[in-house]
Symmetry: C2
Subunit: 347 residues, 2 copies
Amino acid sequence: MEPPATRRRVTIVDVARHARVSVTSVSKVLRNAYGASPEMQTRVRRAIEELGYRPHAGARALRGQTYTIGVMLPDIRNPFFPEILDGITASLEETDYQVLLGPGCNGENEEARVTEAMIDRGMDGLVLVAPVSSRAHLEHVGTAIPTVVVGRHGSSPAYDTVTDDDFEGAALVVSHLAGLGHRRIAHIEHHETDPTRLAEMPNARRADGYRQAMRVHGLEEWIDVVSTSYTQQGGYQGVRELLSRPAAARPTAVFAGADIVAIGALQAASEAGLSVPGDMSVAGYDNTTFAAFDPISLTSVDQAGQEMGRNAVRLLLERISDHGRPSAKVTLSPSLVPRRSTARPAE
Amino acid sequence: MEPPATRRRVTIVDVARHARVSVTSVSKVLRNAYGASPEMQTRVRRAIEELGYRPHAGARALRGQTYTIGVMLPDIRNPFFPEILDGITASLEETDYQVLLGPGCNGENEEARVTEAMIDRGMDGLVLVAPVSSRAHLEHVGTAIPTVVVGRHGSSPAYDTVTDDDFEGAALVVSHLAGLGHRRIAHIEHHETDPTRLAEMPNARRADGYRQAMRVHGLEEWIDVVSTSYTQQGGYQGVRELLSRPAAARPTAVFAGADIVAIGALQAASEAGLSVPGDMSVAGYDNTTFAAFDPISLTSVDQAGQEMGRNAVRLLLERISDHGRPSAKVTLSPSLVPRRSTARPAE
């Protein structure tokens, strides 16, 4: 669709004439295709700049590409997701691909709306971050369009996956807290009942990793999981629930399943007049800029979000050039970043 | 563009036949147009659901609409922008419009790339949040496509604007701090040299409002502006600079131009061993969830982000149905939210 009343659009033919190269050469440069020499690239890019040419996505769509990557983020308030996004945009910077984000999806219906909208608009590929949709829906999407799923376990021939080893990450937190002398270590998880999601979602893996690590450390009788959500509100409710118990049953340490959950947990602790870590240790997951913020100084698990984003782009570009290739799965290793929010329990 | 190997697409004709209404009626319901009765809407929506029909943006583009609104956010890490976005998505929820975000724009070139990409992809309208581009570029965009500019002053026949009264907001902060007894009140601003941006950007208005309010309160000799950026790093550098001065020249209160700046300011204060507000009061601007976070409890200015988003959508939908209508400007009034990060200065 053309906006009304624009001048005649500069075409790829004008660019080729101006640069004194063939249209195919211009096209190669536009697509970053093999076979365009650096000298050719410079000449074409200069002509593009001088003429103010911009490739027309509609026209390119007729040739089969719109040079658009859709990224679905579940929650733009969660400070972990900008890390993944940074990795994605940095990897695409030198290409002609434009990233567009689908916001505000916190449920299956919203995700269906966003993914259908992205397919409908002819995007070349999708990166779905921590989607909650059914496996069937993800496979439907992955069959229609090259897709990489980030932050969800399980694998499928229909799409590639990039995840952190969430089971191991949870074990790192429990080890750290147990090593400090804590026994009553509670965990705030994101509530999950769907069997596929229980097997595939990072939150479910973290809860499993917590339980398993508690057993490994001989703390089975202290296993204590509060089930809310991976939001600030979820962390707040979780700690309120833990603090409503008789004093002897309260945990000395809380492992929040995400930094955003830890934010809410710290809020509730602060309102209850508890000092962290004096009265209660708190650990998060994601190692966001918030965790590194000195007045908070939150012990957290680094899952290398930018690295996840870069891997997602690499797999997606491969899949765009060969949609039918066998699916790939990349699993990254987390590491613990201890800070001041965790310490030895009070005697 | 069709993905390879999909089944025959359900068309609007199938929906009309199934619902036993005319194609025009289906079209009206899809476009939320005047003249579709509630009963008709229900019947058509049921048919759409039963057949799994999804309107094809490409096909709609041929009729002149893609039902896509592009929203350009300068920085997805700034916790104020999700507020605006919430207002936008809530207002569009009951329509067929899909919001797509352009991320990571922190400069004129990046903004040009994102806005061109959005125009190029046939979006129906744009919401540009706090753009830094030249007035000429904004007018070029606004002429090509219905556009609302949020969080930037000045007005143009080519686009609508929604802003907060930033001058007044800054005055509220200075009044509050002066009322507590502070005289050495410093301000951390976002560095700006371009004359248009000095006249139009909210950061420049806040700095002007600060200076003017200091004069009004008889504190002219204490005017002290540190020029960094509206980022966490900018706030950090700003306070480091203020603390590098001789003790007698250090401020007792810091007005950070945005909450994200206050986060960095608090980080630097904490690292320097200063307590807030004991050794230094800190105020922000935006009243984000971060400011309300109890362990921080940051005094801040509420500029009603959701209300800004709702107004932007209202103006944009009007402009989409009449691109040539006279431009409109909405200015909202800010209010101060005092919290624990500001108090009387030490004797």
